[in-house]
Symmetry: C3
Subunit: 172 residues, 3 copies
């Protein structure tokens, strides 16, 4: 398809420029799929800050702990950036080529927060900035909802889901 | 419309084969509607594991209690299956015929969890499996987000919302 | 565009009739935008019950405290109404004219709840009623998800996000 952003680079080439090699998509944790397309919308399932387990078949958390307790906001941002990378890996697993993405629409993130921690927006900025780096300031900007969870599986620091808009290249 | 899944049966006939008679849709708990259509997308409001109250005009919870405390994961899955049935009843109340559904897109579920319970994915599988049984492995597969709530009305074990994609039979 | 609701008035003129002057849109709390359009869908980011700070450049919370503790359900409804007004201000910042809105699709609200408070639906009705007043009983009715948060930034009583469907006036 070969869409170009303002800076003249496509999402796939921006990933290469940024030195980001997308991992294989995280494995679903149950009876669902990494993403589903409706019209031009690509809905991506929830992701965690995991990496593929090199010694096994699953995924392992790269960051653990609550914000406002175990982790600093800076560590939370790094975890959020990894969540965004995993969401893009899941999106690519569905559409095979991120140059098919026209625009990032919506990011919803849920931060595992100790009582009193209320700076989920700062944590999620780690994910939002990665999306803007990859898709550019226009296509990459998105609307967002920042929420809190009193706990998450394996004490993961956050989870997030993503909505993308695709170029209308294929008829349905 | 008469769409057929791979196994040669439509969602409505699959419901009959499975012996599932959809109840009337749960009544809204406030000033909203069970679902709303935008283009080919049908957004369905949140549902609980309720049944119509045979002695009155409202709905009654069929399952009560927190996961990780009062209820086992197996009971949670049964509750989640009932939530999926209610979501389909709400969808049918809007479009009158589930054979108009082209694909299940997204399920978001929120589990009422005791501190330390983090297996919402296993609970929500009870809903996801029902959707795949009714719509088949391709149309029924969906993306998912599994989240936690420290409490829910009347100690309901979970709530979930659904997004469906409709066949494009009507112009707008 | 000049769409009319059943009562013969457009959303913008209904706002005037109701004596509601939309404030400037609340400022984003991080690296995201107030809303984003995909096809005919307008996704609006999370809003709080804030007003522009007359003494500064930011926004200030007009309501503070938990439901079921500090605030009555009636105060919560007033806060929810203000959240809806802010969501419309954000929507207008994106599409410039609320008469471009064809229909309200989905409202998701998260109530800051003291342990045991489970009447988020009553609180969110404050927002839902405002939307129906502005867009009329057909276009304004929407599907809804009512959820709970154990805390929110600056002890805000709730936050909510909105999905609108636009008239298909512009090609993409």
């Amino acid at each position: 398809v070969g869409v170009t952003t303002r800076s003249g680079t496509s999402p796939e080439s921006r990933l290469r420029e940024l030195g980001i090699e997308l991992p294989r998509a995280p494995l679903p944790l149950g009876d669902y799929v990494p993403g589903k397309v409706a019209g031009s919308l690509l809905f991506v399932s929830g992701a965690y800050p995991t990496c593929p387990d090199e010694r096994g078949a699953g995924d392992v958390l790269r960051y653990r702990g609550q914000l406002g307790g175990d982790l600093t906001a800076e560590q939370g941002q790094a975890a959020a950036r990894l969540v965004a990378i995993n969401l893009l890996a899941m999106a690519r697993a569905i559409v095979h080529d991120l140059d098919r993405v026209r625009s990032v629409i919506r990011l919803t993130g849920y931060v595992n927060a100790a009582p009193g921690f209320t700076d989920a927006p700062a944590v999620l900025d780690g994910a939002s900035r990665l999306l803007v780096e990859v898709f550019g300031p226009d296509s990459g900007s998105h609307c967002r909802m920042a929420l809190y969870q009193p706990g998450l599986p394996d004490d993961a620091p956050l989870t997030a889901e993503l909505l993308l808009d695709l170029h209308r290249t294929d008829k349905r």
